[in-house]
Symmetry: C2
Subunit: 203 residues, 2 copies
């Protein structure tokens, strides 16, 4: 088994943090995304969308999409559960993972990709107006998330899950997008300090 | 148990088709999205993001996000499996469901929301240039999907799964987005005819 890894980009980090929380170690194949190595034929043969990470199993089966890779490890190694337990628990974690993905990570990514000079060959065309339109959406989501986190320690409830991982990588991604969590979102800032203090955050 | 339903919009349909494939019947509460009823306080109390559908369990627990609602029913009623079987199977279906969501449905939605006059109060600001930039992305994804479907009957393999449902609602959504599958994507058109012929397509 090999994990074709993309370094500090959000989705490769998502899988590495998930593995660290599970206590699993998978051999990594580093791919230099800044040199566009993920567009090479080797990666295209594993994932026609040329995105990272990709997990290659010993029989040659390739699994891409970071949450799908996490699902594979969750099914193989259910303890500790990071994607919920039981029908209601699994559904609630999936709900929060998707909310963090579609209403936070995606908005941050839109701000970044459509404005940052380093993205001009990745996001064609870059549309500055679209980047700007996503800034207030990030802020609205943070204010909402702050109200949610008044009542609990983690995004989907009382335990750490993949929803926390997605939210953490989204907030980390705000830095290169030149966004910051406002001081008044104190519950978000406290939650962020809590998840960043876990050893997995450095994975 | 009640499913707050949003009629012909893609995500409400996704859950209804999933239930029909499972042979399950859940009482529906129709919400008129064209009259913006989903923005009422009743829905906001169930889903602060004011999106549909929302499943309300008998104990008052609310589950939103269409794929999370599907996950709940998949866990409760695993037969027929629509989200894969075993660690590799589940990961592969999740991979394909996400690919169809992020690389097809999202692109179609971007074309629609940022251009259609009916969306001007929903997507603020509408950015015509962003709508236009997503048109070629839809076409690229269809050409890629066509190459994939040369080799198999369904999106994620030899059986119908949630990935087919997401792809079908994406292609149905192309009509109001004023997009069409090009004739040369014959494998996509054959697959589409195959899934549209299933009774669930009318759900």
């Amino acid at each position: 088994m090999k994990l074709y890894d993309g370094g500090k980009a959000p989705n490769p980090r998502r899988v590495r943090i998930f593995l660290a929380e599970k206590g699993l170690s998978v051999p990594l194949v580093p791919i230099d995304m800044s040199a566009l190595e993920h567009r090479d034929t080797q990666i295209a043969g594993l994932n026609p969308l040329r995105r990272l990470p990709v997990l290659e199993l010993d029989n040659g089966t390739a699994i891409s999409e970071s949450v799908a890779i996490c699902r594979y490890f969750e099914e193989l190694h259910p303890d500790p559960p990071l994607m919920g337990e039981g029908p209601v628990g699994k559904a609630q974690v999936e709900m929060w993972q998707r909310r963090m993905e579609m209403h936070l990570l995606l908005f941050v990514a839109n701000v970044f990709r459509h404005a940052h000079p380093a993205m001009k060959d990745w996001e064609v065309p870059q549309i500055t107006q679209f980047s700007e339109a996503n800034r207030p959406k990030v802020m609205e989501s943070l204010v909402w998330l702050d109200s949610e986190l008044q009542e609990r320690d983690f995004i989907a409830g009382d335990v750490f899950t993949i929803a926390d991982i997605t939210a953490m990588i989204a907030i980390d991604f705000m830095k290169p997008a030149r966004l910051a969590v406002p001081d008044e979102c104190s519950a978000v800032l406290e939650w962020y300090a809590r998840v960043k203090a876990r050893p997995s955050a450095d994975a």
